[in-house]
Amino acid sequence: MTAADAPKILILATEDCAYPGANSVGQAHLTYPENTFLLRVREPAMFPEKFYLDCFDKGIAGIIVMSCGVECPYEGAYNALAARINRVYQTMKARGLDIRRLRLTAICTVCNRAFLKEVQQMVDLMNELGAPGSEVKATSPAA
């Protein structure tokens, strides 16, 4: 499988914590697969449930939300985010999507080992699961 064909993984990384954490991976000249696309966000609590579901509809295979966790500089945002991700899980289940395609985690500015671990786990999982929706086909009676 070439990088272009590999399942695409979207990473939403907070500008205060996870995005610098991802940069620290680069500064250490470590490596991770190319089918990962990092978007810098102020705070992922801004994304409504629909955003995640639309991403899967568009062909994003997995999403890692890399937040600041309890270090979040915005009061109440992490709890709101966690609650929202839970609601997305409910919809994903209803649609037959494997909820492991969406993962909420916390990455700090120097968490380069944790970053690599999270990315590799999602890459391995996506290689196993395939494109979003494939699990629905696999379990449908017509399949």
Binding site: H29, L39, K58, Y74, A80, V110
Partner: protein, 630 residues
Amino acid sequence: MTDNTPKLPKDERVAVYICHCGGNISDAVKVEELEELARRIPGVSVVRRNTFMCSDPGQQLIIDDLKAGNADRVVVCACAPHLHETTFRGAVARGGLNPYMYEHANIREQVSWVHHGPGATAKAAKLVQAAVAKAGNLRALEPIRMEARRHATVVGGGIAGMKAALDLARRGIDVTLVEKSPFLGGNLARLDRLFPTEDKAADLLASLYAQVTASRRITVLTCAEVVAHSGYVGHFDLTVRRAAPTTTEDLELIARFEKAGSPLGTFVPFVGFAPVLPATAEETIAVATGAVVLAVGFRHYVPRQGEYGYGDNPEVVTLTQLIEALAGEQPGGQLMVNGRAIRTMALIRCVGSRHIPGVDEEDENGNLNQHCSRVCCTASLQAEREIKQRFPETVIYDFYRDIRAYGRGHEEYYCGASRDGVLFIRFEPTGRPVVARSPAGSDNPLTVTVADKLLADRELEVPVDLVVLANGMVPGDTAKLVELTKIPTGADRFLLEVHPKLRPVEVKEAGILLAGTCQAPMDTTEACAAAAAAAVKAAAVLSRGYVELDPFVARIDPELCKGTGACIEECPQEGCMSLVDGKATVNPALCTGCGMCVAVCPEGAIEVNGWTLRQYEAMVDAIVAAPVEA
């Protein structure tokens, strides 16, 4: 899969600039190919490359294109955005375009430094495609201008803190100097002479102390700690708590101060200056300030029990303890340490520094000190020279991994120590010297055993009277400060600047600056230079009387808003959002731009300026779209 080919709003023209970053990017990414790919992205009107886009010629490319009307928005593909966003926004503004019509693609830290194979160029192209998609959805924004308080707070009363406070005061800025201990002077007060000038630390501190305490612009608070922090550049509100000292270190210093019997305001060696008596009751002080300079210093590494025999043998001391012994009374012609005559001594370098994973033991928090402490090499040579000059009969064995006498005048200490007869013995990091008690009947209490690297690993047994551990510098206790201010720390746990070369005393949060050894191991010269730089940076911001903040706050589309009030319920900032005439409104001064309101608006009527949902949707569309073909 749906047709997600990204489409820019009509007629918008994006200029794309690709930086080679010397070879940092172009060694892994085929920049010529990337240039061709970028040209084929819909909406791209100009693509150019430069060896260093951040250089003046690189920035001039942007300015010239904008002035020539070649583009109305800009994407720069370069290093991490926090390094040069300000640089490129400035170039965009000088080209006559709104500075917020600019987007950044990070193709160094997140492409060329992490992807080393043939896929690096394709990955970079995808990120450029996504950045262009976002750029197509940018809108002109105006910074929010706020009045700035002409007041700065300096946290830490060592040499860097006093220097920063004084430099700020000289520029007409009022300063509150907050020091946790009862004494000013910091770690420098616990040294004697300073390399390379051989000035007395006490004289240097006395000069600064006199000026600081004489300045009508500087208020000194000792026994004081910042316990709460809010606000933004120009408008920080700090809560400072003064309380009676309780730490063992402070109580020991107070005991030494009292024993010296010196009046307030005079220097007590290895303690510092007490401007007032230590606090006896707790009080809380509100400090309204415009900038904060962090000068909270470092701690000397304290060897673990048993590390090179430390703690188990009274004849094993640290370099800081040796310096204090040398500064004390030394009657007769023989070096005395802890009441023992020293005829032969060993000095072991890199204690608590340059740890190697898998070789060295982590501390109780799982940390290793992999950094070089930089100053202990010359400080060790300085102590050895002093001993050789004052007590020439003393035999000194110097056990080293490397000797890094890096600064101006430092090499002379090494040459001098060699001339003086110090014996240098090199060891491998995996073959550290072993310190053990000598056999009964030996003339010397300790024996150092090591494989001499320069003698083909021949094992040497060196009997000595004293072992000195050249202990390094480790970060001070900054955990509370980091939690309060959210400023990042590096892998070495020192406070982390934005860019070591281009923005060396700034942190990500505007208005907070770093001075001295809270940032990294430094000698006094470097700490004072950093303090002066931090003071100038703070004064430059506060002297204008106003600050401009990024306008990344929530914006309501009144056409779409139906006044459900969901945003008001969700917003964590009291008073930030309200309903006026049935429509939501935002107070930009209170909005932090967290975007929590965006997610709950059923009408999609709210966006955060510069970080809109539509921009993210466009970027996702670009990521899932078919690759651009060359």
